[in-house]
């Protein structure tokens, strides 16, 4: 398929404003544009809906209250009441990922979370918060996270190395998961949407196939909405679980 629609084309990064600073390339790209749009939309929504502060909430106000309660209860369940200090971070991450995923579902809009550098930066933010606050709170007792109890002293060094690698691999798996889900979903969507056009050329049988892939595209779009929410939720839950290690190190 040389002249068909290219499913990768949607992930192309384009420079909108060139900004070379020294040897760095700080250009304002379409990815940056959609990150700004995400931040503006999410903060405007939360500000506007909660500004009335009605005791009896309006529909929109209760939507943002539900989001608040949802993240707060998730955090409290997995990191305890001490973990609620991290609420601003976790809530911002949840809202950012959720809104970015949803914005990406609009046609011709860019999916910010399908760029691995973005998801990796978010994951590094989480892990650095865990490490720094763990050290700040517990000092060197934070290292007990890597030394599981009840292991024979002979294989303890090996287990400790494996635990350290497991800890260090967390940001990679956290970012890979979000990135791969969004990338795979959007490529699948584009491929099936491309089938609609390219199968018509095959004649009467192709028309039937293209109708079938049209239904498939609709189904996948619905599923992508689910995935968009699910991945934001998974990212939040894992963030909470990792923050739990910072609050309560030691198994």
């Amino acid at each position: 398929m040389t002249n068909g629609p290219d499913p990768i084309h949607q992930f192309e990064v384009l420079r909108l404003i060139d900004l070379p600073v020294g040897s760095w390339d700080l250009s304002f790209t379409n990815v940056s544009l959609f990150m700004v749009v995400t931040v503006i939309i999410s903060s405007m929504f939360l500000l506007l809906t909660s500004s009335s502060r009605g005791i009896v909430p309006t529909r929109m106000q209760s939507l943002s209250e539900i989001a608040y309660e949802f993240v707060a209860s998730t955090l409290r369940e997995s990191a305890g009441s001490q973990g609620i200090r991290f609420f601003p971070l976790v809530f911002s991450l949840f809202v950012f990922v959720l809104v970015a995923n949803f914005i990406g579902l609009f046609p011709y809009f860019y999916t910010v979370t399908s760029q691995i550098m973005i998801t990796f930066s978010l994951a590094m933010l989480v892990i650095l918060t865990v490490i720094l606050s763990g050290f700040y709170k517990h000092g060197f007792r934070f290292f007990r996270l890597f030394v599981p109890s009840g292991v024979p002293i002979l294989i303890l060094p090996l287990v400790t190395i494996i635990e350290v690698i497991s800890f260090l691999s967390r940001p990679i798996s956290l970012s890979l998961r979000l990135f791969a889900n969004m990338l795979a979903g959007h490529i699948t969507l584009k491929v099936f949407a491309g089938f609609i056009i390219s199968m018509v050329a095959l004649g009467p049988i192709g028309v039937g196939g293209s109708i079938l892939s049209l239904f498939m595209t609709v189904a996948i779009t619905a599923l992508e909405f689910l995935v968009a929410f699910l991945q934001a939720y998974v990212f939040t839950v894992l963030t909470c679980m990792y923050l739990n290690d910072a609050v309560h190190p030691g198994h």
């Binding site: 690698i165 497991s166 691999s169 990679i172 699910l230 998974v234």
Partner: protein, 115 residues
């Protein structure tokens, strides 16, 4: 499915003892069996199956990301070790194996096996 109920609870024996089967009874039996199978997850709606197939992609990505991340971290640590201490290629070999082990551990943990 080995832990299921004995077929006797569905009442085959009592019906067969009576001799002739009424079609109404047969229908009841069939719907009871269908319900039972559906409850145990042997039979599924085709719609649900399709949904499951698409959703299980998420599960696949989850497990593979857990495994891949550990192997990548092993490679990074191995190459870093060689940069600092030297002794190429042994750092990469050892840490790759350690990363593989960690990946297996990560996958086992993420499917809920406690270890």
């Amino acid at each position: 499915m080995a832990c299921g109920k004995k077929p006797g609870t569905l009442g085959y024996k009592s019906i067969f003892r009576k001799g002739r089967l009424q079609s109404r009874q047969l229908d009841e039996q069939r719907s009871a069996l269908e319900e039972e199978l559906k409850r145990k997850g042997v039979l599924g709606h085709s719609e649900e199956e399709k949904q499951d197939m698409l959703l299980s992609t998420g599960q696949a990505i989850k497990l593979s990301s857990e495994f891949l991340a550990a192997v990548i971290m092993g490679i990074v640590l191995g190459l870093g070790f060689e940069q600092v201490v030297g002794g190429s290629p042994w750092g990469l070999i050892i840490f790759l194996f350690l990363g593989f082990t960690t990946g297996v551990l990560n996958v086992l943990r993420s499917v809920g096996l406690d270890c």
